[in-house]
């Protein structure tokens, strides 16, 4: 078994084991086992970082064996500079989620932990799959654990949110399924993504494929106007669910643009870039304003996620290295920052059981350690230089300037809106006088919470101050992809 296979199947095996033996009577064992599984899954991805050759755009750590001969399916895995970082990121976030749910989840612990571990393996599979159908299988299978997570451990409107999440994403991906089968037919019976990249296609076929993929990935990202499932899902999901949703699941959609839409239908992508650019700018501007008026902290961060993901898609369709690399960096940094933001809300919610901004005020007085972390993450969320949030946004804006000054100007208003909604929330929640008895009785974070916030804080600072390890990995692949997209595939 290759490294990537282990990274996929180890968490799934641990998850299955938890489901099989775990009961609430032995919750302690279950938690320990889940942590062991998550840590082991993270450890096995580390050789990926150390062993990655940054000098080539070719797929690395490739595994390829025949899977279903009838369709010429292959179990084909590999990572390049576009996808490599998401494997350890997914495993890392899973560790954080396990720690975050340690004391909070007391009901059906084994199923909770098992669902997250299985989800982690499936998401790693999405990033590694180089066979179109293998990708689809992993992509769709992630819906099942997430549906259960939102529905079982979610808030009062969890059923509505879970259904909306499931049906929205399924609707998009079913069109992609037809597109995949169509590509299979057009390529003479191959589901190999790399073969599809080289496949010449007429413009109308490219256009149809582009929009079929767009249907799947824009829902997942999510882009305006198909974003409405996300605030519902985020608000109702348990903290861990929100973290995984924001940190990894949204990236599956953005990654899909890089792996499918752009290289398979480059001519259509260039012809219809205005669609993506427009929708991305709407996400940045309009959703930024929507975030400003939210009363619910989770909803606010959810809308801010949509705005940040708008930056990602905007960067991809600037067709230059800064924009695209910036988009990917933004994906990774948003993975850390949004996870941290949701964890902070989770910390407060566990104590006060309210997500309303109005229920708080002056938290910094009673929880100084926690407030320090929360403010750091808030700064990262509004893109303060020196934090992870800055790097990606800055690169995308620079890339946009090269493409068109006014797009860049519009996009850069996010720095204002982002700062506005984030800092206003920080001001109302953390600063000022102690607002009520709930806040007065707050107890500062314990060692477990400190640990999970600290590792994220390190990641956020590291990425902000020294992003080179991240950008080095993707540079060659991004250049190669851009070269590929610039060339026409019409025949």
């Amino acid at each position: 078994m290759g490294l990537l296979s282990i990274a996929i199947w180890l968490p799934i095996a641990f998850g299955a084991l938890l489901l099989a033996v775990g009961r609430d009577q032995n919750a302690g064992v279950v938690r320990a086992l889940a942590l062991a599984g998550a840590l082991a899954s993270l450890l096995v991805t580390l050789p990926l970082i150390t062993g990655f050759n940054t000098g080539t755009a070719a797929m690395q750590f490739v595994e390829k064996i025949s899977w279903i001969e009838r369709f010429n399916l292959h179990y084909h895995l590999g990572v390049d500079g576009l996808s490599m970082w998401f494997v350890p990121l997914t495993a890392f976030i899973t560790v954080v989620v396990v720690i975050a749910g340690w004391q909070v989840i007391t009901d059906r612990v084994a199923q909770y932990m098992g669902a997250f571990l299985i989800l982690s393996g499936l998401m790693v599979g999405v990033f590694c799959a180089l066979d179109g159908m293998l990708f689809y299988v992993f992509f769709e299978a992630t819906l099942i654990p997430m549906y259960i997570i939102i529905g079982v451990w979610g808030g009062p409107k969890r059923v509505y949110a879970a259904f909306k999440f499931f049906l929205y994403t399924l609707a998009g991906s079913l069109l992609m399924l037809v597109a995949l089968v169509y590509l299979y037919f057009k390529s003479g019976g191959s589901f190999d993504i790399l073969t599809w990249h080289k496949l010449p296609l007429p413009l109308n076929a490219q256009t149809l494929l582009f929009f079929a993929f767009f249907a799947a990935f824009s829902v997942k990202v999510p882009m305006w106007p198909v974003h409405t499932w996300l605030p519902d899902a985020h608000v109702e999901a348990p903290t861990g669910g929100s973290v995984v949703l924001a940190a990894i699941m949204l990236k599956l959609g953005a990654y899909g643009f890089l792996r499918f839409s752009l290289p398979i239908a480059p001519d259509a992508a260039r012809s219809y870039d205005w669609v993506i650019i427009t929708l991305s700018l709407v996400a940045v501007l309009y959703i930024g304003l929507v975030a400003l008026v939210q009363q619910d902290m989770k909803k606010l961060v959810a809308y801010s996620s949509i705005a940040h993901m708008g930056f990602v898609t905007l960067g991809f369709f600037m067709f230059n290295e800064l924009g695209m690399a910036g988009g990917i960096v933004q994906m990774i940094s948003h993975g850390f920052v949004s996870a941290a933001m949701f964890l902070c809300i989770g910390v407060l919610y566990d104590r006060v059981h309210s997500r309303e901004i109005a229920s708080y005020g002056g938290v910094a007085n009673t929880m100084p350690k926690f407030a320090a972390f929360a403010v750091l993450f808030a700064m990262a969320n509004c893109g303060l230089p020196g934090t992870a949030g800055f790097v990606g946004e800055w690169m995308v804006i620079l890339g946009a300037v090269k493409y068109n000054f006014w797009i860049a100007a519009a996009a850069s208003t996010t720095l204002i809106f982002g700062a506005a909604y984030t800092l206003w929330m920080v001001k109302r929640v953390y600063f000022g006088d102690v607002a009520n008895d709930d806040v007065k009785n707050l107890v500062d974070i314990n060692g477990r919470e400190f640990l999970m916030l600290a590792v994220l804080a390190i990641a956020v600072m590291w990425m902000g101050l020294y992003p080179k390890p991240f950008t080095d990995v993707m540079n060659v692949s991004v250049a190669e992809l851009l070269k590929h997209v610039a060339a026409t595939k019409l025949n």
Binding site: R70, F71, Q111, F138, A141, I148, A162, F163, L177, F185
Partner: protein, 493 residues
Amino acid sequence: MTSMNWSVVQPELWLLVMACVVLLADLFVTDPERRPTFWLTQLTIAGFAGLHASAHGSGEVGYGMNGMVVVDPMGHLLALFAALAMMATLAYARHTLGPRDMLKGEFYSLSLFMLLGIAVMCSANNFLVMYLGLELMSLSLYALTALRRDHAIATEAAMKFFVLGALASGFLLYGLSMMYGATGTLTIPKVFESIATGRINREVLVFGVVFVVAGLAFKLGAAPFHMWVPDVYQGAPTSVTLLIGGAPKFAAFAMTIRLLVEGMLGLAVDWQQMFIVLAVASLAVGNLAAIGQTNLKRMLAYSTIAQMGFIVLALSAGVVSSNTLSAGNAYSSAMFYLVAYVLTTLGTFGLIMYLSQRGFESEEISDLAGLARRSPWVAGVMTVFMFSLAGLPPMVGFFAKLAVIQALVTTNVPLYIGLAVVAVVFSLVGAFYYLRVVKVMWFDEPVHAHALDRAQGVTALLAINGAAVLLFGPFSGGLMALCRDAIVKALAS
């Protein structure tokens, strides 16, 4: 083709003899649970399955009874699957019979006769033999549905089933007689040759085909000939519902392939159009009507109609632009879909029976409330079934849908590509009501607090069934190859 060739009908002879033996032997069984009858029946079916499996292994195509029956890999495979489905059905049903006054020897012997009918249909090479098999199967099923005599709903279901089934048989017979009138033969390959000459009055042929397709659509349960399905599925005792919804689907498929493909491929342009209408109507009616159901069995009945829509859709893509290049693809995807569907259906109805207890049928969707708390294992297995029916990977149902969509798209005809889109859109609608079952099991609080009384052995069978539905997805290569091989050989002969 002109010899008795008794050896090719060995499995059916064994089944016939043993059905009579079971019928007689049961008279001397004193055990209140009728264990000897049950095991003798299972042994009979296992022997039947074994005979077909070994015959399938040889891979030969042969004729028997003066060309009345054909034995080919497809027939063997379908009979084998039907036998396995019957074994699972009887095992699931066993513990539910006693409390419902159905624990009689007739249950087992009628089941065996029904299987015999299925086997005859799978290897029929002649219109009359096909009809004979169909009636043997159907009459056994009518009787089985009515077996719970003093239960009003079951009797009503049996009545509906009988009347509509007889009507369908009438349609079919009428169509077949038209074909006979036009071609002058009842032997299926000769009908094919006769149509291929092009000298037959096409209007008569098409007229006949309309009735044949209508009869088949009744038996498959495709809309708009689906009216009996919800009533019978809901009204019949669950064990009989599974008998109707499991193995006979293989027979209906065999009948469709033998009559329409092997016999009337020359008229494919005509019957394919009808199949497209049937398919879209089934997908629409099945999926939309299922949304409103509160009774689990009735919901599954509508879901069956929708699933049949997929199979009919695949069957409609065999002959494209007057060539049969895509036929192997289309028909084998339909067959694989059928196997996947029956495998999942066995599990779902098996699970309903597993949950039912003395005086409590567990038929309502709300009866599953909080199942995940009462028994996470059972809820997990049911979740696998539901997601498989919804067509979510990695369950087998997804790969079945993939096979059908692949068959449709690779025809490269805009109509079929459009139909593929229609099919996936309706599976999105379908996802909603399957998800609702999952929701009830996982998100709701239990209503029935009492623990499940676990029937020995059935738990293991359910687990195996669940594992099969889960693992036959990613590891479906072998099964798909089997189906393809069978169809290719059937087309060649």
